[in-house]
Symmetry: C2
Subunit: 399 residues, 2 copies
Amino acid sequence: MLAFNWNARHAESNAISKVTTGDPDRLRLTDTIVDTFVLIMNVVDSRRLDPMNDGARMAVSLQDVANAAGVSIATASRALGNKGRVSEATMRLVRETADRLGYQVNTLGKALREGSDGVVGIVVPMVSNPFYASLVHEFEDHLAKFDLKMLIADSHGELDREIERLEALASRRVRGIFVVPAYFDESRPTIMDISRQLPVVQVDRRVENDEALSFVGIDNAGGIDQVLRHVSEQGAETVAFVGADDRTSVGRERRQAFAASVASLGLTAQKPVIDRYLFEFGLSAASQLMRRSKLPDAVIAGDDLIATGLLAGFVRRGRAVPEDVLITGFDGTILADICSPTLTTVRQPMAEIAEAAVTQLMRQIDDADSAGSHIRLRTTLRPGDSTGAATSGSRRRRG
Amino acid sequence: MLAFNWNARHAESNAISKVTTGDPDRLRLTDTIVDTFVLIMNVVDSRRLDPMNDGARMAVSLQDVANAAGVSIATASRALGNKGRVSEATMRLVRETADRLGYQVNTLGKALREGSDGVVGIVVPMVSNPFYASLVHEFEDHLAKFDLKMLIADSHGELDREIERLEALASRRVRGIFVVPAYFDESRPTIMDISRQLPVVQVDRRVENDEALSFVGIDNAGGIDQVLRHVSEQGAETVAFVGADDRTSVGRERRQAFAASVASLGLTAQKPVIDRYLFEFGLSAASQLMRRSKLPDAVIAGDDLIATGLLAGFVRRGRAVPEDVLITGFDGTILADICSPTLTTVRQPMAEIAEAAVTQLMRQIDDADSAGSHIRLRTTLRPGDSTGAATSGSRRRRG
DNA sequence: CTGAAAGCGCTTACAG
DNA sequence: CTGAAAGCGCTTACAG
């Protein structure tokens, strides 16, 4: 009955393209790539199985605790919150009562009274990008030290979604917001607006004219220079940049840094290939590069996703890395370890970015006027086999 | 001055192990692996740069809007909320006033009045695991259709943290919670507790004796069978399982399914290697397997992280995949595409998992008694080069 | 159609 | 040390 409803509801949506019935084990191998699956459902009447369930879902309030303990709600609040003078005895009484009743503070009431709750928001372009996934992870860790919870929002790199998310966070009166702006220009107005209402720290990417905003990111120019110096030492003379467009600050900084460093190092640059931070783009960029009369000695990717796409693209088309072409990434995600050959990349100090950004946000929470601090952290080169550098061993020991 | 404070505060923590000064460009290559970086800070006095900033951070309330529009707060609420009868004229007046004042509803007040706000929580073991990152991404998408925001919490696969996060979510009176339990046994008590207070749906993993709880996941036995059948067709006779322990439902289901399918397919199983879902474990498991008298024909990994670790481990030690040994993954993350050779893996229908879980949660929100529904979705085999199967082409067209 | 009032759950001056 | 009361911002019966 419930199962029937469920299927009916979903028959209307096209997310489930096809429902196959029959013995699951009999699904032929030829079906495997097709987006087909079987539902196995057991619907259980929870009323029978869980006698505790009836009458449940009735949250116990502080008033309930106070009544049960025979004290005023004010005293109950103080006893639980460890605020003001409360006698040892009542303190214990209230706490025991609260435990017995399974009391849990309603953060909504508390937050309303106090103006904000212990939540900060973070808006990232795409949590499924390993770099942002790790960043979010680090932020969560550092925020926990301040007893702050994190509300994560994914803008999908779209302006509309970003605006919606930022406003939702603001209306929720979060303590502050970390944001990786979707765009260098178009993201600015909303972020400026929001920053007038609550503490905002830009992370990784910035918007234009952001002197009044805070920012924590990395020295992209330094990172690109590290990697170009490295391929140069590995013997590369012609290099090509495969990165993202100028719509994000990171895209433009890395692209411009590439041009600058190539010039100062005396390398020859081929025409860059520019699109988005996607594995698929790296794949297609490899094809584009192979159609050129001459492959560059080294390809500098704008991030690890593109780099792994390039790697796969070249290898699938019969080119050897690093023998035929050197490849480098950027970010230092797990992807760099996973490829084979391992990827030479530029490591971002993610834990330190998170720590610096959290510290900055805390400062802005304490003092609204302390925005406008721009922090850039140093990257480190992580040599891998994709440039013919030993991951461990000689190069490292030399230091 | 601010910069100085910042450094001082951080000198106490050990997150910044060393601060190098001097020309960033002069950092020697030998330093690259070391956790060292330079801070580049510009601190700007935002009071000078942003004249709008003073007097800011004063949120405008509904009362403010009502006053400015010359109506009661009740009318203002109705006008903005589109509830009850309001004249066309006052409706417009109130809305214009609200816009002019930059009014944004305070979700805290609204939620307190209404009992809950439009937020659901999701607790995952590790957002930086690409599988969970993608899952979270899909959940966010599907929840948006119901105007629900998502509070993401990362349990790090630790029980203490999981309990803390679940309670924080509950005290925030979220509408419901999705949880990927850290453990099959130890996670049960808290999850049962919480499920008595608000709708809970287990995702991916379950706890023991969860008949009264809902669950949305995949048919792990079917997935393992798909992959074993596949390597068998590719000629494998001896197989080894490298997966996670029985502390999670997924770990035990896949391990048990392996034993069962091996028997029914007439394959020979080597002793399994069991630990955690980590790339590093896959790496070390490869070494362990190579110390055996005979390498198995195929290694079935418990997930893609382990599989990519195995792949890297074998390749680094001079074994060829798939020539010397076949390797398969599980989950169908981006990692499978990125490796080279591409990884044969079992794809989880992530969008459908998210859709089914969200649907189930919505049902539980509407009807507290509708928990206890267990849904398992079908996986699909995704053949890659790690088992000598073409990624695209003949095999697919045959269907 | 509109307003005065109550109340969601909590904390914190203010009196005692 | 403890309690009565106000109030955070909002919505919704209840009267008009």
